[in-house]
Amino acid sequence: MTSKLDLDPGRIACCRESADAVARAVLAFASERTTVSIERATLRLIGVEGGDDAGVPWVNRVVDGARSLLPGGIALPFARAMRVGGLDPTQTARAVAEGGLELGGEGVADSETQALAHALAERAMARISGTVADREARLEALGEGPRPLLYVIVASGNIFEDVVQAKVCVRAGAQVVAVIRSTAQSLLDYIPEGTTTEGYGGTYATQGNFRVMRAALDEASEEAGRYVRLCNYASGLCMPEMAALGAVERLDVMLNDALYGILFRDINMQRTLTDQAFSRLVSAAGGILINTGEDNYLTTADAVDAAHTVLASQFINEAIALRCGLQPWQLGLGHAMQMNPLNEDTFLLEVAQAQMAREIFPDCPLKYMPPTKHMTGDIFRGHVQDAMFSLASVMTGQGIHLLGMMTEAMHTPHIHDRVLALDATRMVMGSARHLADEISFVPGGRIRTRAQEVLAEACDLLETVRRDGIFAALGQGRFADVVRTAEGGRGLDGVFVKSPDYRNPVEDLLRGRVAWRGAAEGA
């Protein structure tokens, strides 16, 4: 692809350098820590499922009862308990929770325990690889249709109703179905159990619900003759566990962002950044396409003034992701230009931003979100706003296109809202299918100038963040106009500095994979 914007490659390289420095610092910080959710994710990966009658997952019961052990990691104590009890992972967890088995004590570091832990980790990896192979076979057999992938959300609050709606969407052309989870689930420090029909503003993300929807979409995929991707959230306090469930239940796409939880959920930054590293290692192994959260930034900050913060964050997300072993094709970097459409020439700015992201991250399937904030109760106007956005998307070669809904300002979509959105989007994109090949932007024009300016500002911001560190930058409100402190927010009590004897064979294998791959690619 030749540049239509004449962006300075030197400046882009400079952004990447700063971002990588930030990423290195973040990952160094994270590698010295673990969290309750990382430990729970580890248990989930080695096979612990289910929970008590009150719905508390066994992994929570186990980890909460073993806080003092966490600096060393839960893996070896748990493996030892398995050996002692001679039970499978879930039975062991239950026994531990119910007091029948104890964690800790002697033999935690003995070689047999280590061997068992390692074997369990190997099995976990095999399970993940199996899922990857399954997905690849299905994709191979069915294909998935042209890009951008059309992405819709279902959010009825009842997984069975969600299934109905998802199937209707698939018939109307959806290529990715995201099940929105219940308001505030991200602040729960556990994942609810079982198949649930609860939630408001969304449906609880649970392992059971993942399975129900995966099966439904597999059926719909066969019917539609194309593979339909399932999406959920590796985000919030349970980020690592969500990633783990995604990897084993064959979710294909997961929202996963370095800063989103900090900025928009007031989750403690030490917690989220530590969880980030682990969750990305898992997603990398699971062949999961992640969607980053920059599409949210401009809901709080001004879209015209703060466009560069989106780009800067994309660079940071990219750097962290690559260092965690994600491939460029797995990076659905998010963006959205939340501009008041009544202002003059906003479409030009929209196109400039979208084209810029396209050219800077040529191998990433950018995830493009419609400008939701300026949607009003006027569904007719809103439908047109979304159409213009569809045009911008196809004009600039986006990879994943989140469908705007004309009823965005009122409710989670009604069944036909999505169909009408898909119809309109397919019509607009079809009628302008090759427009991107047809047009170029005039030198010195508003579009080129805007893109160049935004890039320059992002470059400056990244330098500042590199200099001050990400914690300080967040303390200065540099992203999304939101100010957060290193000690503030939820979940800090779930962070532990690793002791020198910390062991997590699952993490080791995940990291090993990255190191191996990095080595293989000469990076």
């Binding site: 109703e161 009122m410 009604h414």
Partner: protein
């Protein structure tokens, strides 16, 4: 199926066919969208008036999500609400034109073998209506939606009189050509002018004493088979009709009467 068979219909799980309600994102939530203008300037009371109209329509929790002043004493509203009404789907019976899909070749073959001569068809867009695209779609060579029109059928002798044809002229042609079938198109429906036009033609044909000998068919975007029957026609075809549907119906009917 000529008649709907409720049992044979694949209804979503849980739907009671005897009390069907709109569906938004849960069964029986009744969600509907409504929009209209009121001839009052925008003010809190006008919004409330819109909401109350929603209530009178049978909406529970009618909510005005958008209101706009149009000036000069008018204001526009968009509402959502939960419709309390329901229909007994099992009781609905709608007359249908036969739905067996027969191909170009099959139709011609059947006419040739059973009737043994070409079917004579006269068509027109009548009255002051100048919209020929619809009748052309059905009759002209070129056809519609990838299908040939009647003029292309070897076993049909199709004559398209074009637009703005007075009923008298059409009747004269029917008699002169001894038509087996008549196709009338009506697109303009303002002040129900299409109903008047169609009824007048039916009366004239009746008065002429040739009604029994003729298959009388009308069509247009606002025509339904039911309305056509009420007007004394043999069939009515609406938006999206394909030529083969009409040809197939004509062949059946002419054969039934004359073979």
């Amino acid at each position: 199926m000529k008649r709907k068979d409720v049992a044979a219909l694949a209804l979503p799980e849980g739907v009671n066919p005897h009390a069907v309600r709109p569906y938004g994102d849960a069964l029986d939530d009744g969600l509907v969208q409504v929009s209209f203008t009121l001839p009052v300037p925008l003010c809190p009371e006008s919004v409330e008036a819109a909401r109350r109209l929603g209530g009178q329509m049978g909406l529970k929790e009618p909510t005005v999500y958008h209101q706009a002043d149009l000036g000069h004493g008018f204001s526009f509203y968009i509402l959502y609400g939960k419709l309390q009404h329901a229909v007994d789907f099992g009781r609905i019976v709608v007359p249908r034109v036969s739905e067996t899909h027969v191909s170009f070749d099959e139709i011609n073959a059947r006419v040739q073998s059973v009737l043994g001569r070409r079917i004579r068809v006269v068509g027109a867009c009548t009255g002051s209506d100048a919209h020929t695209v619809g009748i052309d779609a059905i009759m002209n060579m070129k056809g519609y939606d990838g299908e040939y029109g009647l003029e292309r059928y070897p076993q049909f002798d199709a004559r398209n009189l074009g637009s703005q044809v007075p009923n008298e002229v059409l009747l004269r042609q029917i008699v002169e050509l001894d038509a087996d079938a008549v196709l009338v198109s009506q697109v303009v429906t303002q002040r129900d002018v299409h109903l008047d036009n169609l009824a007048e033609l039916a009366d004239m044909i009746e008065a002429q004493g040739i009604r029994e000998r003729i298959v009388l068919v009308c069509g247009g975007p606002r025509i339904t088979h039911e309305v056509a029957l009420e007007l004394g026609y043999d069939a009515g075809f609406g938006a999206g009709t394909r030529p083969s549907q009409v040809a197939s119906f004509l062949a059946d009917e002419v054969i039934r009467r004359k073979a």
